[in-house]
């Protein structure tokens, strides 16, 4: 059984068709990429699968269970973590708190524990803090643990966001332009981190990217989306040489 399966998903915003007949199969541990020009509907697809919008038509199943109609927090607890194109960090909170926030569901204490400051509360807080620090180390942001996220270098903020997504213990991780705005050095580091995360956690990854080099390097399979429709799908080499993809990215060869 595939980990995530999307069948014939179509979505309209009012009269505008944003996504048309989208299909996706992700197997456990697979890394898949979604590329396409600006406004093709890539982020909309992420939002539809993660429960921010409900698709007009189509099915979404995670491990055979339908996700249609579930709220974002329910989709998240089924094992789908994600990052955002514009990160959506809480700039007035520190790095450690970001990861601990993502461990909300793993913090096992009740209101009474909080009111009386019971040992259980202390224990849970300590346990979760230890786990959070391990994640921060993996993402090379442990040294910033007590810093406000807003004061971090851009690349580090991206890594914090990814650490936050991983802290929800997802089975599949959605990355929305994980290298946007990064320097070439940060980009190389990011490729290493994603490989590491993939290896250590065995998590499946579905990522949106603009930089073809990044996608080609990481993904086993790539979909190309143009105006809400998949125009090409396959392994990187195939996509790279697909005339339709080249046309979507570079424009038609029209030298007459």
């Amino acid at each position: 059984m595939p980990l995530l399966q999307v069948r014939n998903m179509t979505h309209y915003f009012g009269g505008l068709r944003a996504v048309h007949n989208f299909n996706l199969v992700i197997e456990p541990g697979e890394i898949k990429g979604l590329i396409g020009p600006n406004g093709a509907g890539k982020t909309t697809i992420f939002n539809l699968i993660t429960g921010i919008h409900t698709p007009t038509e189509g099915q979404i199943e995670l491990e055979g269970q339908s996700l249609i109609g579930l709220k974002p927090h329910q989709v998240a607890s089924r094992g789908l973590g994600r990052t955002f194109q514009n990160m959506l960090l809480w700039r007035h909170m520190n790095v450690l708190e970001h990861v601990k926030m993502a461990q909300y569901s793993q913090l096992d204490y009740g209101l009474l524990d909080a009111f009386f400051g019971t040992p259980r509360l202390q224990r849970e807080e300590e346990r979760v803090t230890r786990e959070a620090m391990r994640l921060l180390e993996l993402f090379d942001v442990a040294k910033y643990a007590e810093h406000l996220v807003g004061n971090l270098p851009y690349g580090a903020q991206r890594r914090v966001e990814m650490a936050r997504a991983m802290a929800t213990k997802p089975k599949i991780l959605f990355l929305d332009e994980p290298t946007a705005g990064m320097t070439p050095e940060e980009l190389v580091q990011m490729i290493g981190i994603i490989r590491q995360v993939h290896k250590d956690f065995g998590v499946a990854i579905f990522l949106i990217e603009h930089r073809l080099k990044f996608v080609m390097e990481l993904c086993q399979s790539i979909q190309t989306l143009v105006f809400g429709e998949v125009i090409a799908e396959g392994p990187p080499e195939e996509i790279q040489n697909n005339p339709k993809v080249v046309e979507a990215y570079l424009g038609k060869e029209d030298i007459t």
Binding site: H73, A76, M93, K100, Y104, S105, R164
Partner: protein, 307 residues
């Protein structure tokens, strides 16, 4: 000097009422980006619930042949009333606000006003137009600090208020729910993806705000023991001013601005005739807002502007 200190004590007392109520406005705003305009009336309901519980406990003591000491009745009254009023807050969220969560903000604001009117007139229907007096649970004792006269009630009011604010601060800084509230106050979209349900955090926020308002209502009843169904309106509006002055959604700001409001009011009344008090005090605040439109701790940051 004594005159000044005397007024300082009064200002602290009034500041406590404003701050406790303002916190409720601010907390709800920081989560849902809307002001719960029924909050002043929740303060009124809290005060009445306090009156009911106190009367009940006193009666219980009499019929059991063992009169509970006043301080014990007061402590129990505050705790029980806070819980019951918190429940009222949860109902207000569930019935009034949740169905309108995706509705235009204006509708949600109107909801608050309507709930407020319903609470006022509901009280009127239930208990009649007669004013009720809050039982004097503790005997008033006046201490003389070198010419400054302070009653034990005033000390109690300020200390209980500060204690509750400290507890709130710890809740917000140290618990997972507090963390979720802080995160939501900055960004609304990412929090549910951490597996946090808004339908847990929103009622909890209403509950805490209402509980604090109830404490304010009981403390108010101790100092000014005449309750009527409309007592929450003016006080509620003033606390709302404090919440805005502190910076929309800022907890610390709401508390400080509540006290500042108390100070401005009392010191204006110290200089000018008391009939001019609100006129001058609120003109000053209008002026402050002209120069600090976001209030003291407000930021123009939200990723989604919802009001």
């Amino acid at each position: 000097m004594e005159f000044f200190l005397q007024n300082l004590v009064n200002a602290l007392q009034w500041g406590s009422f404003y701050a406790l109520i303002a916190l409720g406005y601010s907390m709800v705003y920081s989560i849902l980006m809307l002001f719960n305009f029924a909050h002043g009336d929740i303060f009124m309901v809290g005060s009445y619930i306090g009156l009911g519980i106190a009367t009940l406990l006193l009666g219980l003591g009499v019929s059991a042949g063992w009169a509970m000491p006043g301080w014990l009745v007061l402590i129990l009254t505050i705790i029980i009333s806070m819980f019951l009023t918190a429940f009222v807050g949860i109902l207000v969220e569930r019935i009034g606000y949740r169905p309108l969560r995706d509705a235009p903000r204006a509708s949600a604001a109107i909801t608050g006003l309507m709930i407020g009117i319903i609470l006022e007139t509901g009280n009127l229907a239930l208990l009649g137009a007669r004013r009720m007096s809050f039982p004097p649970l503790i005997k008033s004792v006046t201490y003389d600090f070198g010419g400054v006269f302070v009653t034990n009630k005033k000390i109690l009011i300020v200390l209980v208020s500060l204690g509750l604010m400290y507890a709130l601060h710890n809740f917000i800084q140290r618990t997972k729910w507090g963390m979720a509230m802080r995160a939501m106050s900055y960004d609304y979209l990412a929090v549910p993806l951490m597996g946090v349900s808004l339908n847990v955090i929103a009622p909890m926020t209403f509950a805490i705000g209402s509980g604090l308002a109830s404490a304010a209502g009981i403390l108010y009843g101790l100092a000014y023991p005449v309750l009527d169904p409309y007592m929450g309106i003016l006080l509620g509006w003033k606390a709302f001013v404090a919440a805005i002055l502190g910076g929309r959604g800022s907890i610390l700001g709401a508390a400080l601005a509540g006290f500042l409001l108390g100070f401005i009011e009392i010191f204006v009344a110290m200089i000018f005739p008391s009939t001019l008090r609100d006129l001058i005090a609120y003109s000053i605040i209008l002026l402050i807002l002209t120069f600090r439109p976001y209030g003291f701790f407000g930021q123009a940051h939200s990723t989604q502007l919802r009001l």
